[in-house]
Every structure is written in structure tokens, then in C-alpha cells.
């Protein structure tokens, strides 16, 4: 599995993602600048967290219009894997690769703390190394993580098994149906707000997020 990590101005979590990929994949990810348009040779495109383009207009709105995202759309249409975390999730919804949108946290506060996530299914390329229903710890750091979609979309996501993770302990940002992450219909695009890449080494205080990257490495 060859991974590329997208870099937009204002993205600040790409190094954490490099560490997670290096550790699980045993290979060096390619850093892809937002003006690049050639993703040839990549199996997995990762969009890390941060504040792309200063969160101007809406979180992820500017990044969604950048040249590299056209290439990511093509990559996804070819059946390529895409992982978006935090701002990366917002960019994927703004691009339309994932349904719904992320609103300001219901309590208006920026949330920087650990949360507990429940794995809804473990038969995907992202979660094979977790158990179904497993609860794991993941740090979150976002101001706009309040997942929303219309009722019909939420029903469809649940009915088709496209909810990836739910907040298990407390739904602090007010997300609809406690949804923390969602899949595309082909289960190859995943977006989530919390940061599994920030718990992949005992030195970070835990390895709860490592199975996600180990799952991808084994795919």
C-alpha cells in the first residue's frame, strides 16, 4: 500500500500522519502539495488535519477547490482509498466525496481532549484490526466537528452500514446520531473528526489508533 499525504497551506498534522504511516506501513509516504495533480502510483490518499487556507469561508471549502482535489476525485472514482481526518474530513464533505457537513460544535467551544470511539463494523480496509463494537481512545481537536446531514441521508448512512465510528462516552460536539466518522458507499473513502494518528506509539501515551493504520497496511 503506497500512501500519499496531501499538504495544503495551513495543514499542521501531516507529520503525525507521516509517523503513523511509516510505523505501520514500513514505507515512506509521499507528501503531495495541493497544486500537484498526479497521484499515479498511490493506493491511499490521506488528508490530514489542520486549518487549510485559514478555514476561510467554511472549514475545508477552499481546499476542496484546489487542483489536487480534482485528482483525488479521480482517484476515488477509480476505487482508490482515501482517509480524511479532522480538517481532512471537512474537506471530503466539502468536495462531496462524503455526505453531510460539519458545523460549529454545539457548545461553541474548541474541543481539545480525548474521546472514546466505537467501531461500527470491522469488515472494512480501515478497521479490520479492530473488533466489531470495540471502543478505543482517540484525541480530538476541533471547533467544527458537529456532523450533520438531513434525516434521509442519516437514515441511509445507518441503513447501508456507512457509519464508521460513533462517539461512545459523550457526544461533546453535538454530532447527529453521535456520528464521528462515515464511509463512502464503496467503503473505500473514510472521514472522521478524531485523530487516530496521534495514538500510534507508547511514547504518545497509547496505541489505540494504530490498528487503523495496521489494517490499511495489511490491505
Amino acid at each position: 500500500m503506497r500512501a500519499g499525504i496531501l499538504l495544503f497551506p495551513g495543514i499542521n498534522r501531516e507529520r503525525d500522519m507521516v509517523l503513523a504511516v511509516r510505523q505501520s506501513f514500513g514505507t515512506e509516504p509521499r507528501i503531495v502539495w495541493h497544486k500537484e495533480t498526479d497521484l499515479t502510483g498511490l493506493d491511499l490518499v490521506i488528508i490530514p488535519g489542520g486549518f487549510s487556507f485559514g478555514d476561510y469561508l467554511r472549514c475545508g471549502a477552499m481546499a476542496a477547490q484546489s487542483p489536487v482535489m480534482r485528482a483525488v476525485r479521480d482517484h476515488a472514482a477509480r476505487g482508490g482509498y482515501v482517509l480524511g481526518v479532522c480538517n481532512g474530513f471537512q474537506i471530503l464533505t466539502e468536495t462531496g466525496l462524503l455526505p453531510g457537513a460539519l458545523l460549529r460544535n454545539a457548545g461553541l467551544r474548541f474541543l481539545s481532549m480525548d474521546t472514546m470511539l466505537k467501531v461500527e463494523r470491522n469488515d472494512t480496509v480501515f478497521t479490520a484490526k479492530y473488533a466489531k463494537g470495540e471502543v478505543f481512545r482517540a484525541p480530538m481537536a476541533h471547533g467544527d466537528g458537529n456532523y450533520t446531514a438531513d434525516e434521509a441521508t442519516l437514515d441511509r448512512l445507518e441503513g447501508e452500514g456507512l457509519v464508521a465510528f460513533r462517539y461512545h462516552d459523550e457526544n461533546r460536539n453535538g454530532s447527529a446520531r453521535a456520528i464521528a466518522g462515515v464511509y463512502s458507499p464503496n467503503l473505500r473513502v473514510l472521514g472522521l473528526m478524531p485523530h487516530p494518528e496521534d495514538l500510534v506509539d507508547p511514547l504518545m501515551g497509547g496505541t489505540d489508533g494504530k490498528p487503523l493504520f495496521d489494517s490499511l497496511a495489511a490491505a
Binding site: 467554511r58 471549502a61 466539502e94 458545523l103 450533520t148
Partner: protein, 80 residues
């Protein structure tokens, strides 16, 4: 020609910012304030002379970028 695009969260979408503004106004003694909704206004200077064409262009821009149609609605006004 100037187009003024007003972007608001759709009715029914929780607007925590509007809520917070409402609370703050209540705290300031404006007891008559009920629901508050916050949005944004984007002014576009367009190289257009035909108001209908300017409006159509601004609407296209709103759909493609200025508003997220999943959560927001917009309205376009053309200033004389």
C-alpha cells in the same frame, strides 16, 4: 455591478453562534430578543452590465462555492 450574496444556515439547522449572540443580548438587558440567526454577506464586484446575467452568475458562484447547500441557503441581490 455589485452582487450581494447573503448566506444563512437553513431553517432547522442548529445555529450555535446565533444562540450565543441571543444569550449575550439577553444578558445585556435586551429581554425582547428571541431567536437569533447569524449568517454572512459576501459582496461581489462583477464585470457585468446586465443585472439578470450578474444575478445568474452570482447564483452559480453561490452554489459552487459561497454556500454549502447541505447546510446553507443563499439569496442574491443586485445593487444598482
Amino acid at each position: 455591478m455589485k452582487a450581494i450574496v447573503t448566506v444563512m444556515l437553513k431553517a432547522g439547522v442548529l445555529d450555535p453562534q446565533g444562540k450565543a449572540i441571543g444569550h449575550a443580548l439577553n444578558n445585556l438587558g435586551f429581554a425582547q430578543v428571541g431567536e437569533v440567526r447569524a449568517g454572512k454577506i459576501i459582496e461581489l464586484e462583477l464585470a457585468e452590465t446586465d443585472p439578470a446575467a450578474a444575478k445568474a452568475a452570482a447564483e452559480e458562484m453561490a452554489k459552487k462555492l459561497l454556500a454549502n447547500m447541505v447546510i446553507e441557503s443563499f439569496k442574491v441581490e443586485i445593487a444598482a
